[in-house]
């Protein structure tokens, strides 16, 4: 048989490499802006678009989906062709994948600062963008699978298995978590409510970490570390065990984000058990990566690529040890809602994903431009300042997380909270926030030095658009096989079968089951819990728009330190009308679930206008625009109807009189403020927000020392 000659497409790799570099810088600078705002809120420059609540989602989306996302495509499009000994199946699809992905990122850059958000973490983009993501993702998958089918290498190298799992699982997670009912082009409500929504969200959220930040990068690790060190992977068998064990266990770990919340305990425990088991495959993978370099450590000293990758894999090992530990309930009781979690994810983000990406870039650019790296002194500089950046970033936040958590929990001998004022616990750790911003800055300086180094490398080389290679074509049938009949047909089309059946079952099942299962099943178990009034609902949407959930939780855990500070602990039945849930994941400010009726309307008025006037030293920004903007009530009726569709029991025809009710309630709040001598524009947004805040958690609030009747 004669060898076939073919050409690898390098232009698509170059495109994704440029996008990775550009969005890396942008995403990190947005992160730095957010970090600076935690030192002093003036770094939002008093604009709504740059306030922390809006740019924190922009930062997470930019670094996860733009920086790491483009990094995944860059590495996959490079390695897949070479591992399968064939060009990508379709250049057109490759380019649709590229431009489609960049358009999605661009739409995120526009919509998130405008406050167009679903408020579900790492899935904040609104429904039209969700659909676009699904389509582009399918294009990527189709291109990948067709390439696999047209391969000239029968054996699928372990990296490819990681890519396949990434595609299948991310598609599934994205579709299930993005079920939402559109109200307008820019606004939708989650299909799920309260506890349900929280569970689906963190099932998605944790697996986004698993299947977007981990499995594709492990695939890249299994390709690029052997290539860069010119050594075979330490144990190919271990890599296979690593792969199958990891994907089977990961999918169950999500509930560890909801420990001690209103989620039923058995579901929490499933999350704990599986999270803990994850240590084994994760460390198997880490050791396999590091031991690949056995006997070749002298090369690590000389190669920038390997240096970055070694630290990356080490960081992977640290986070995947820390993650299971944080999933233990007694550790989680301290870590949850604190900066410890932020430190943890940045060991993964800056260390594992960041350094792996840099390593791949330092490997690919000289190769694609057919030259040597411009300056190894500069890449050494990048390596050291980047490593220091990670340390200066993470250590202060570990310190801050521990300190604050212990302060929250400390009681005096008389049995009172030692730090009853939440703000005290914030001002205590402000210096740590400043140190974190410093760590982040020097990490970015390193990235800038890499950009310069790589651009100079490109200038001195010449880009190879295509690379010629040759290999034998694949024979049609696997010789060792003896199957017959229908089985044989399946075997000839194994991958299509896998993909189509999975997608079909997952989508079809979801569409059929979700409405029947969820909408009517949300029967409130607490009789006193009522739907939001139209004004409260609008106020809630403002709360979502401003991203308040990024700093404030709405989940009082059943600890004495929390019930003393905030009030009665949160019950599952209180959230049945919350589409989407707003439990939050971080307490930069205090929990708000029992904020209702705690302060006067005028306190909230003054606090939102100038938080420092009510709490000197606070790092919460002012929201002056809420006092100037007119509340838009055009969608109110539609929102009520959407809620009815989702099973919220508003009376039939209530949408017709909703705006009337809304005006009435907002006038009464305005009058209330007037009594305290505060002038407010009628119909301004602040009235809706005050209405919502005053309602929060009051449905079962314990009154006059009498416990409310709670059945849940």
């Amino acid at each position: 048989m004669e060898k076939e000659t073919f050409r690898y497409d390098n232009t698509i790799v170059r495109k994704f490499a440029f996008a990775t570099m550009a969005f890396g810088i942008i995403g990190m600078l947005v992160g730095l802006t957010a970090a600076l705002q935690m030192v002093d809120p003036m770094f939002n420059f008093l604009t709504p678009w740059l306030t922390f609540g809006r740019i924190r989602p922009l930062h997470t989306n930019a670094v996860i989906f733009a920086f790491v996302g483009n990094g995944i495509f860059m590495g996959v499009y490079y390695s897949l062709q070479r591992l399968l000994k064939t060009r990508m199946w379709s250049d057109v699809l490759s380019n649709i994948n590229f431009w489609g992905w960049q358009l999605i990122i661009l739409s995120a850059v526009v919509t998130l600062p405008l406050g167009i958000t679903t408020s579900k973490e790492y899935a904040e983009l609104e429904w039209p963008i969700d659909i676009a993501i699904a389509l582009v993702w399918v294009v990527f998958g189709l291109n990948m699978f067709m390439t696999i089918l047209n391969r000239r290498e029968r054996h699928l190298y372990v990296a490819i298995w990681f890519y396949i799992a990434t595609f299948v699982t991310v598609a599934m997670l994205h579709i299930v978590n993005s079920f939402e009912l559109p109200v307008s082009f820019f606004k939708s409500y989650s299909w799920y409510a309260g506890v349900q929504d929280a569970l689906v969200q963190w099932w998605y959220g944790h697996n986004a970490v698993a299947f977007f930040l981990t499995t594709p990068y492990l695939g890249l690790m299994y390709y690029f570390i052997p290539k860069a060190s010119n050594r075979p992977v330490y144990s190919y068998r271990l890599s296979i065990v690593h792969f199958w064990a990891l994907i089977f266990i990961y999918i169950w770990a999500g509930p560890h984000h909801l420990l001690y919340t209103a989620l039923p305990e058995w579901a929490q425990n499933i999350g704990v058990v599986f999270s803990f088991m994850l240590i084994a495959p994760s460390w198997g993978g880490m050791l396999n990566g590091l031991l690949t370099l056995r006997g070749a450590w002298d090369r690590v000293r000389e190669s920038a690529v390997l240096k970055f990758m070694v630290v990356a894999v080490t960081c992977y090992g640290m986070s995947t040890f820390e993650g299971p530990m944080m999933s233990l309930k007694n550790v989680n009781a301290i870590a949850h809602f604190t900066d410890w979690v932020v430190a943890h994810v940045h060991i993964g983000g800056l260390g594992w994903n960041g350094f792996m990406t840099f390593g791949i870039l330092y490997y690919l650019v000289p190769k694609l431009w057919n030259t040597k790296l411009y300056s190894s002194k500069l890449s050494d500089f990048h390596f050291w300042i980047g490593t220091l950046g990670i340390i200066f970033y993470a250590l202060p936040l570990y310190w801050a997380g521990f300190t604050q958590s212990l302060m929250w929990k400390e009681f005096t001998q008389e049995g009172f909270l030692a730090y009853p004022n939440f703000l005290e616990t914030v001002t205590q750790i402000k210096p740590m926030y400043a140190a974190r911003a410093f760590g982040g800055s020097i990490y970015i300086i390193g990235v800038i030095s890499m950009l310069y180094n790589l651009i100079m490398t490109m200038k001195q080389g010449s880009f190879q658009r295509e690379e010629e290679a040759s290999a034998l074509a694949l024979t049609k049938n696997y010789e060792g096989h003896k199957g017959e009949g229908w089985h044989r047909v399946i075997e000839r089309r194994p991958i299509q079968m896998l993909v189509f059946s999975l997608v079909a079952v997952a989508i079809g099942g979801a569409i059929e089951i979700i409405p029947t299962m969820l909408i009517k099943s949300n029967i409130p178990t607490i009789a006193s819990v009522k739907p939001y009034t139209p004004l409260e609902l609008e106020g809630r949407d403002i709360y979502i728009r401003e991203g308040c959930y990024n700093c404030h939780s709405q989940m009082v855990r059943p600890f004495r330190s929390e019930t003393e500070r905030y009030g009665e602990y949160s019950k599952a039945g209180e959230f049945v009308y919350d589409h989407p849930f707003q439990w939050g994941s971080k307490r930069t400010g205090p929990d708000l679930h029992r904020i209702g009726a705690k302060y006067s309307d005028s306190w909230h008025f003054n606090h939102m206008m100038d938080p420092g006037s009510m709490s000197p030293g606070t790092i919460m920004p002012s929201y002056p625009w809420l006092f100037e903007n007119d509340l838009n009530t055009e969608l109110t009726a539609g929102k009520i109807r959407a809620m009815q569709t989702l099973g919220v029991p508003y009376a039939e025809g209530y949408d017709q009189i909703a705006v009337q009710d809304l005006t009435y309630q907002s006038e009464s709040i305005a009058k209330n403020l007037e009594k305290d001598g505060l002038q407010v524009l009628p119909n301004s947004e602040i009235l809706a927000l005050i209405a919502y805040l005053q309602r929060l958690g009051t449905d079962i609030k314990v009154k006059d020392g009498q416990a409310a009747m709670v059945t849940n």
């Binding site: 060898k3 000659t5 070479r82 591992l83 000994k85 000239r152 290498e153 029968r154 054996h155 699928l156 190298y157 372990v158 298995w161 396949i164 799992a165 299948v168 699982t169 599934m172 299930v176 799920y192 506890v195 349900q196 569970l199 689906v200 099932w203 390709y223 052997p226 290539k227 075979p232 992977v233 190919y236 296979i240 199958w244 994907i247 089977f248 999918i251 169950w252 579901a267 010629e468 290679a469 040759s470 290999a471 696997y478 060792g480 096989h481 075997e491 194994p494 079968m497 896998l498 999975l502 079952v505 997952a506 099942g509 979801a510 089951i513 979700i514 299962m517 969820l518 099943s521 599952a572």
Partner: protein, 53 residues
Amino acid sequence: MEVIFLLIAISIVAALGFLAAFLWAVKTGQYDDDKTPAMRILFDEKKSTETNN
């Protein structure tokens, strides 16, 4: 909370899909040889000259 049954169902479907993929991989000999695949990826750079197996 009913949603957990849905999530379990979907997770099991995904797991079964992966199980099918695993069985396919074993049956078609993907894992018969766990030495050369690790070596082979190191040799795909030399243009048109190397032998393919």
